[in-house]
Symmetry: C2
Subunit: 401 residues, 2 copies
């Protein structure tokens, strides 16, 4: 039995590939500081968790395909808090940000169509695009130029007759880059000129460490027809296990097609929407505390990296990731080695090899992504172990140092 | 801005089309007996609901992409209860049966490929197939022949070089037909002969009213490489709002691709999986009570139909639906009229026009689907109102009676 071509092309998670090594390390009794995935150790707000105690539905029934009215209204309040005026009809509640991305690809693209996206990018865009039959075309950005977008002309040169959309994750996973209004305007200009959709993955909206205000694609008054924002509560409310996201657009034709998609799959998770409702009203104090916590983690990572020889990086202003170039030939080999061959007093560190975040072959081979998902104390300890591991690895593998 | 062709082809729910009429009826103070959708009034088992009170996770974190181990194990027990031996590696927990269907289409078919499915069929197969770029080809079945499959030769004549799978819902939504081992063998034979996948939507597995044992595609020992079963807890545990389903196969290549798909969307709903865990151990008493309840509802519907002039139907042995041919030209017009122009003491009935369950143009225009989702008392009252409404409609619209 032959499975489909796209089925065979669906990329297994580049992180899962390393899971056997992590499992073996755990089985041998090692403790692993997991800085490889975006799963924060931060508590889900009690206001949300407390909802579970008070759910008293005798019949857990289908909700509306566009989401429960009370959660749609909560999202209207959440966006208003950020100065973005939306109505219920601009919002479809999705099963995680993941479903919102698939919906966007489906509504904007037919099989064989292309989407331009700055690389490095969130690896799972690959899976969604293969499943939807869409080709991702990378707009390469680099550490050397602080992950800035290339010129309008350079991006324009990548547009083909099959290009249907420009997509950007802002703040960016995996680089931590925060794109401001000026850079985003480049994309808006091209989207208007070439009739392209403009897709924004804004799940890290609040994660900005230098006090700047986030620019949402939804802020562009003249781009309502072009813009789709894909959102999720996973990171901002440390609720990754609740699969609740949102698909946002002010283009009625887009919303009509997205609603038809949503109706086919009936509804998003009902209980988990109810848990999400109080998130809209946690207020500015919540976000201030949250940003301060992640800024402290970011600072602990940077402090640790500054103390290591030969690493290169840009200080990220957003999200909770950093891409670091290591003085090694093969970052994946180093990541595996840290699991199999190294520990400090029974402890080691797991990172994500960055190659999986690039689609251009060869890029990122000497880079890793570090996630600021552990508290400051643990982060400091992890960075210390990483420093010792890197120095030892270089001696062992490269004969230097 | 032009959306994608498939976006414009995504069919809006044929039931939603009628929602404005239902809303207007409700606004005018009418009570509606909703026999149009598969949302039972049965309580979700207390053992499941009680889980909510005892969830004490401080961080609601990502679970494994294939599902929580404890829920995978619960599913292994559930299938063992039905005499189906599975291991964890045969199971990926999905976000509802809906996601399992999309996964099956993606893993089996490339854009432009075809899937054969008996019609009438669950309308949402249309949405999933359009999104996945897959063409559904109907194997027409009819009320006159009690929804039996046509001959092997007739089905074989529908196979083209693009056909990749045969799909069957058993027991069937919308006909209530239960396909036995002999009929399913026809499909298995063709699947082997033509190297096709055999997809089984078995979400109504326990809903069989004549005491026969359900034949699962998973029972066919010689078809392990071909069979994918798409499952859901929605109906059997009256937990439609919990978006928990399963993708089942013993073909390792299929499971590898499905897991890659699952990894891209990270994980199914965590809290709702926890709520689903006790469902595996409700035991045979639970199913006996459940089947008795739905059999009584089915009997109340049949009793009511037998009392109406000019209706045609087959007594369904499974699921909780029946397709009825009405003595009207346009069943949708009748359904709307029942909402807009008719009531008995302020009460009316809503049915689903059956045309949306057919893909062959013109079929089902004089048919409706009735769902056995209300308790016996309400069902009897609804059937009485339906009888009066039908007689009045025929007088008014057709000048007969």
């Amino acid at each position: 039995m032959k499975i489909s071509t796209r089925g065979s092309l669906l990329p297994p998670s580049p992180i899962r590939k390393l899971k056997p090594f992590a499992d073996a390390a755990l089985a041998s009794g090692k403790h692993i500081y997991a800085l490889n995935i975006g799963q924060p150790d931060v508590e889900t707000p009690a206001q949300m968790r407390n909802v579970l105690k008070n759910i008293d539905k005798k019949v857990i029934a289908y909700g509306p395909s566009q989401g429960l009215a009370e959660y749609q209204d909560a999202l209207v309040r959440y966006y208003a808090f950020h100065g973005i005026a939306l109505d219920r009809e601009n919002i479809i509640v999705t099963t995680g940000g993941s479903e919102a991305i698939t919906m966007a690809f489906t509504v904007c693209c037919d099989p064989g169509d292309e989407v331009l996206v700055p690389e490095p990018f969130y690896t799972n865009y690959n899976g969604f695009s293969v499943a939807a039959g869409v080709r991702l075309r990378p707009i390469t950005t680099s550490l050397e130029t602080n992950w800035e977008l290339p010129s309008v002309e350079a991006i324009e040169a990548l547009i083909t007759p099959r290009t249907r959309a420009l997509m950007i994750c802002n703040p960016n996973n995996p680089t931590g880059k925060v794109y401001g209004a000026e850079e985003l305007r480049k994309l808006a200009h091209l989207a208007r000129k070439h009739d392209l959709f403009l897709l924004g993955d804004e799940v890290y909206r609040e994660f900005i460490f230098n006090g700047e205000k986030h620019t949402s694609l939804l802020d562009f008054e003249d781009m309502h027809d072009h813009v789709i924002v894909m959102d999720s509560i996973s990171k901002r409310f440390s609720a990754c296990g609740l699969r609740i996201g949102a698909f946002i657009s002010r283009n009625p034709q887009v919303m009509q097609a997205a609603l038809a998609y949503a109706q086919a799959r009936l509804c998003p998770p009902t209980i988990e929407q109810l848990v999400a409702v109080p998130s809209a009203d946690l207020g500015s104090d919540y976000f201030k505390r949250m940003v301060a916590e992640y800024r402290a983690r970011r600072d602990a990572v940077i402090e640790g990296l500054k103390d290591m020889d030969g690493v290169e990086f840009q200080v990220p202003n957003g999200a909770f990731y950093i891409i670091v170039r290591l003085p090694v030939k093969d970052a994946e080999d180093f990541v595996v080695w840290m699991l199999t061959d190294f520990d400090v007093a029974g402890e080691t560190v797991m990172l994500a090899p960055a190659q999986g975040f690039y689609s251009t072959p060869g890029l990122g081979k000497d880079q890793v992504r570090i996630a600021f998902v552990l508290n400051v104390e643990k982060t400091r300890r992890a960075m210390d172990i990483l420093k010792q591991g890197l120095a030892t690895y270089i001696k062992v593998r490269h004969g230097r140092g």
